[in-house]
Symmetry: C2
Subunit: 479 residues, 2 copies
């Protein structure tokens, strides 16, 4: 057994198997009940939600209950050179939490406590396994608001931090990064670091915290987070707006941005997604006959002011080709609209094979991207549908297999993805907005980042994790 | 002459002098008119605004006019191992831009163009030498707003990015980091990197951009920045509120936060600062007889709504011990109040010798910090005055020499600073909120950061700048 890594990073990754002695040590560290070895149990940790994504069987799954246990597992794994893939709810869409090198899956599902809601500082201290939906509900009871709202609400905070998830409210409220003021993290060596804290402003050395956010479990494992909260807006109004073409809907988003309408959320959706959502939820949307839709939300304190704004927003939409404006101002009506939006991924996925892109664009380039994305679909005889956070330039794009024969699909899909990403790059975009690079996007990263930048990132990886045990093979391959 | 560095970082820093050949090359790269060699000219680049701060005479000052010139100067300097201290307007308060190892001062004063104001995406592309005041004025003409508003408005964007400056509007709008979406930077090697871009959301590899922000010119030199803009608020109201004790003022800030009053700015000031500001500006404040003051600002779209809010804020203040509420609702009245706030540092500095602390605290700890800070002053028989951005926990703290004999001052000031920082640390605070560590605070950084964290930072420095040419001796000493 090769017990020590050289740390040079140049060598091929040779990981060691988990011997009975190491297993016994793991059982001691996290308690036997928190170590899964049975095949049927381990199989539930093979993959994540990535359509057609990779799979990898962990040799063992551990569920630490505290930071000390996380640190001890990492120290042991680092010493024996065993890969450790950290996992939250497994809702990632780039194969982020898939143990492609086997080894240990470290599931943080038991580190799911909200440790503190600090109403004086409008901050919360949470463990990484806290489920977003539970967290949002807990702070709302105190009249507070945690804005990050990805479509996947069963995701957990640790995963949100790992991919800098944003979601629907990003237009007004930003993304996860904007809400983190402090992290406790464990390095591959087992060292525990406190990065940041309850200060909302800081200029005290390099911001390692911001380096960890979005690093997908490849630099360190987050064991606690301090998150900013906002006051819960008293009122919200939602608008559901059909358009008779997708580009008109996209141009309307750009027009609303130019007009500086203070929207909270600006989602775009195509008809096929809406129809699938209706089938999945067994309920009708206010309208489903148009090819494209915007779903908008305003929030604020005064109902009257919001209604005036909604009126103004509606007029912009009509002037840009909206067919109608459906206003949701009650809570149930709005819930129904946003539930439909939130289920789109599941609805599409249940319907058949597809691929996922999660591009970020300068907002003004969204209409052009939509044109080109549709043209790529036509070129390859493939349906590419889309929905996403148009207001912050994040378009989730889904090539669908539909009736296409498997062989043709397998041959065409790499070409389609490549063209989508080349298009994204040419419009000044980024490869991923909030899903991360994980496993499925890493081949495309060199399209977006010059070699010197990738080299620096790999050197940073090497610095944090010289034995390459943390989520290896994600974002990029070892140097 | 030692031409190459080993890059191990363990050795003593031996920098090389600038030979006539190197000087000739510099003159070729940036043009002779942009190279200063005369002593009288170089002396203007010896120090920055740090009270009692360090000085260091550059051997030469270069003023590149574009990124290619910055890259060529760095490549040359790296090859010959010559220190390069980047400088904007020299308004730093921690000795950040002082060339303590001599060598080259690279002044970016000529890279001061606003390259684009992109009204479709609410973004601006600027060179680092753009002066903040000019930038804010330029975007305001288009109805847009760049919120960062440090007291020092003659600072430049590059410096603001280097220290993650925030200023008055931070309570509502955040700090510089929150407004940067992209950076062009030059590494010590001369390599030019594009980090980020016009996408406001991103999860595509490690965020090197966030590592550079706040790194005080020690990792790379910023040559272009893409900055977010907000719509310019139509109306603002300012409130000037005297209190008969400092702690009541501080507690009022905490009460306003608890009550979730949506304030834009929440400044706290002591009477001595107000009196000095009056003298400096030769104008009276609405009131100057109380020992402590809050200066608050609200902004928004509707005057009526703001007046209602201002009323509510005023009631909270009176309930917490405010002596009176002076409302500024015209532009000139507000300008006068904020000019007084903005001149406080200059007014204090002109008055006599002082030391600067720029601590960041959890907001709820500001009153406790104020108590302890005053107690430290009493213990050492020293006046310590303060003003700052109480609403985001950033208190600028100024021990004043006053009539204290030089010898006593020199003996006591290190003890006072040490106690202030130990207090800050014990309250969960950070060493600097927005001035950065620079030269004058680096001795205190180990009080705040555990060794493993400092080691990682030094390793990152080593990775980016193996020959240690970029602003050496700032934030920490070479490994």
């Amino acid at each position: 057994m090769q017990k020590h890594c050289t740390g040079s990073g140049g060598e091929k990754m040779n990981y060691n198997p988990i011997s009975p002695e190491i297993l016994a040590q793991l059982q001691e560290i996290v308690d036997t009940k928190n170590v899964l070895v049975a095949l049927t149990e381990r199989e539930r940790y093979r993959n994540d939600e990535t359509p057609g994504g990779p799979a990898g069987l962990p040799e063992v799954v551990v569920k630490p209950e505290n930071t000390a246990a996380v640190a001890a597992v990492l120290q042991l794994s680092n010493h024996h050179r065993i890969p450790v893939t950290v996992r939250g709810q497994g809702t990632g869409l780039s194969g982020n939490a898939v143990p492609i090198h086997g080894g240990i899956v470290m599931s943080l599902e038991k580190m799911n406590k909200i440790l503190e809601i600090d109403t004086a500082n409008l901050l919360a201290v949470v463990e990484p396994g806290v489920v977003l939906l539970d967290f949002r509900a807990a702070v709302e009871e105190l009249g507070l608001f945690y804005p990050a709202d990805p479509g996947e609400r069963s995701s957990c905070i640790g995963g949100n931090i790992g991919t800098n998830a944003g979601g629907m409210n990003g237009v007004k409220y930003g993304k996860t990064r904007d809400y983190v003021t402090g992290l406790e993290v464990v390095l591959a060596s087992g060292a525990i670091l406190e990065l940041g804290g309850k200060t909302v402003k800081r200029s005290s050395g390099y911001e390692l915290m911001h380096l960890i956010i979005g690093s997908e479990g490849t630099l360190a494992i987050v064991t606690r987070a301090i998150l900013k909260l906002s006051p819960l807006p008293r009122k919200t109004i939602s608008l559901y707006i059909p358009f008779d073409d997708l580009f008109a809907a996209a141009r309307t988003v750009a027009a609303l941005k130019r007009a500086r309408m203070p929207l909270t959320a600006m989602e775009i959706m195509e008809q096929d997604a809406i129809l699938l959502a209706e089938a999945r939820l067994e309920q009708k949307m206010p309208y489903n006959q148009a090819p494209a839709y915007l779903l908008l939300r305003l929030d604020g304190e005064q109902e009257e002011e919001l209604l005036t704004l909604a009126q103004e927003v509606g007029e912009h939409c009509l002037a840009n080709g909206a067919l109608d404006i459906f206003v949701g101002d009650t809570r149930p009506a709005q819930q129904k609209l946003w539930d439909a939006r939130a289920c789109l991924f599941e609805a599409l996925k249940a319907h058949g094979t597809m691929e996922a892109a999660d591009v970020a664009l300068p907002c003004s380039q969204v209409p052009e991207y939509m044109y080109r994305m549709k043209a790529i679909g036509r070129k390859y005889g493939m349906t590419i549908t889309s929905f996403g956070h148009a207001g912050d330039g994040n378009i989730h794009t889904w090539p669908l297999q539909g009736e296409m024969p498997e062989k043709e699909w397998a041959q065409k899909i790499p070409l389609v993805m490549h063209e989508l990403f080349v298009t994204t790059r040419s419009l000044g975009g980024a490869l991923s907005a909030e899903h991360g690079i994980g496993f499925t996007k890493k081949a495309y990263l060199p399209l977006f980042l010059e070699p010197a930048q990738l080299t620096l990132m790999k050197q940073i990886k090497q610095l944090f994790d010289p034995c390459q045990i943390l989520n290896p093979g994600k974002i990029f391959d070892p140097k």
